[in-house]
Amino acid sequence: MNGRPLVPVDRAYVNFLELQPAEWQALFLTLKVASVALLVALPLAILVAYLLARFKFPGHGILNALVHLPLVMPPVVTGYVLLLAFGRNGPIGSFLRETFGISFAFNWTGAALAAGVMAFPLLVRPIRLSFEAVDPKLEEAAKSLGAHRLVAFLTVTLPLTLPGILGGAILGFAKAMGEFGATITFVSNIPGDTRTLALALYTATQSPSGDLAAFRLTIIATIVAFAALIASEILARHLRKRLGGDHD
């Protein structure tokens, strides 16, 4: 009784919430992986969404199905496919390794690739809907005023689809942050390189003494997700005001 000061109890409580270096590592790695995944996937998603929204071509249905594949396949299967294709001995993986020296297997770049692939359908869907909501006749009007297709796209279509793109990006980012099955299958669970928050959480739950770590990681993941969602809400509202909807 005597030797038990009150302060250690408080400190213990605070300590329990304090992140371990491994957890900080997981957090920063996750942010890095998700950001890179988004940066690469987003322009591609905008292009694909535009193609699907504006053009009819043979293979339209196939492209659409391919885009949605990661959404409906079990993530582990997607990870396995990535492994087969981009792994050390895979057709694309060996080519990239020999020609450019780029390696995805067991690398944070592989984690980014897995995250990007899994997030892709969640990017394309809302962006495509956004494009479909923009009247193609506005693009016609822009062309009649002398704007070439790309200029018309950049000055008319893109600004009007910005809220949709933002919504898709947030969704995609959240998915990239939380990606597990494909990541662990493709690039395994290397601390610092591929142990993202989700994998770190899994690791914690696999260890009998990992409950505290699991709890802390859950808190971080939730806070980051919340922050992203709120930021997107604010941005979306701001954008909507600037674009001035039609109030006829």
């Binding site: 006749k137 009007a141 822009a142 002398g146 008319v156 600004p159 009007l160 006829d248």
Partner: protein, 372 residues
């Protein structure tokens, strides 16, 4: 100078259009579904015709045989759409100058000029979402004008507006048509607009152009009943206001020889006026009647009698040096023993007045057609 001779398909419609016009305002007139928008979309380059040529002011925009098909961006055709199509995320000013900063078009007319012409001074900083229908259309017209076009296409610009808005915007259109300096292709299914604004009229019916020519001639023709809309058929007269009689509220208008008295028409002497007289408002008499309330009894000569089935016949009469159309029953034609060359008295019950803004005689004279 517009020259069009094309065939094409749009959906289920087969289009076969051939017409040419010297300049000024050319109206494309026809009922809904006649193919007007399809035709203008082909001229603008939004749809590709199958055969033929399109040229404006000597420049070939499309030639199927020579494989010429200028893309929309290169045609320099200002296109005012029925639904305005303003860019909702840009201010009115940015919309107006879009062709300059995004379309890389040259400075044709000055921004101030166009703003003044269309009364857009107070709207410049606003967003399209806050504008009324008429304001939107004026901005759309201004935007098209500022794209340094060689031709202005206006596709039923007043169709989506209610009567009050239409009346608001028509004076601007008058001014525009007089001051534009470039040929205008005006598409409409409204005979009033067409009669008021244009010099040349192209009739479009079922995807074909059965006739085109000076607007007065077209409106007077008796064989275009179905295309022009039977009840709208009539005559278009050009007249000059002589003087206004304040006591009786009657304005005297000289239509070339004969003078008409028109009630409720505030006007200045010398003002140019277009009078549209519907065929069903015109009666004929063998001798000038007495004791009749109709004030406008003009003497005329029968030029043609249409052969129609059904109860009606249409008679074309020359009054002074203009033509007036009358619709009477076939029975009366026989009873009165009407024949070509016969002198008759033309009785006009009511007249629709289409005002012209005070335009310079010169610009009007450019587009006048010799009267018969």
């Amino acid at each position: 100078m517009i020259e069009v001779d094309i065939t094409g398909h749009v959906g289920r419609m087969d289009l076969q259009a051939q017409f040419s016009s010297e300049g000024g305002v050319t109206s494309l007139f026809g009922q809904s579904g006649a193919g007007k928008t399809s035709l203008t979309n082909m001229i603008a380059g939004l749809i590709q015709p199958e055969t033929g040529q399109i040229s404006v002011n000597g420049e070939t925009l499309f030639d199927a045989d020579k494989n010429i098909n200028l893309p929309v961006q290169a045609r320099r055709i200002g296109h005012v759409f029925q639904d305005a199509r303003l860019f909702p995320h840009l201010s009115v000013k940015s919309n107006l100058t879009y062709a300059r900063w995004a379309g890389r078009r040259q400075q044709g007319r000055a921004l101030n000029e166009v703003v003044e012409l269309l009364g857009l001074e107070d709207l410049l900083e606003r967003k399209p979402g806050t504008l009324s229908g008429g304001e939107k259309q004026r901005v759309a017209i201004g935007r098209a004008l500022l794209s340094d076009p060689r031709l202005l296409i206006m596709d039923e610009p007043l169709a989506n507006l209610d009567q009050a808005r239409r009346n608001d915007i028509l004076p601007y259109l008058d001014r525009l048509c007089a001051d534009a300096g470039i040929p205008i292709l005006y598409v409409s299914h409204s005979i009033e607009e067409v009669a008021r604004l244009s010099q040349t009229l192209v009739i479009l019916s079922d995807g074909k152009t059965p006739a085109f020519g000076p607007v007065a001639d077209m409106l007077a023709r008796t064989d275009l009943g179905r295309a022009t809309g039977r009840h709208e058929a009539g005559a278009l007269l050009e007249g000059t206001v002589k003087w206004e009689d304040p006591e009786w509220g009657l304005t005297h208008v000289d239509i070339g020889g004969e003078v008409m008295q028109i009630p409720d028409l505030p006007a200045e002497p010398g003002e140019a006026i277009r009078l549209r007289i519907r065929a069903r408002d015109v009666s004929l008499a063998l001798t000038p009647p007495e004791g009749l309330s109709i004030r406008n009894t003009l003497s005329g000569t029968i030029r043609s009698i249409s052969r129609e089935t059904g109860p009606y016949a249409e008679i074309l009469c020359a009054v002074g040096d203009q033509l007036i159309r009358a619709r009477i029953t076939r029975a009366s034609v026989v009873d009165l023993q009407l024949s070509i060359g016969k002198q008759v008295t033309v009785l006009i019950k009511s007249v629709a007045i289409d005002r012209r803004q005070r335009a310079s005689i010169n610009s009007l004279a450019q587009w006048q057609y010799p009267r018969r």
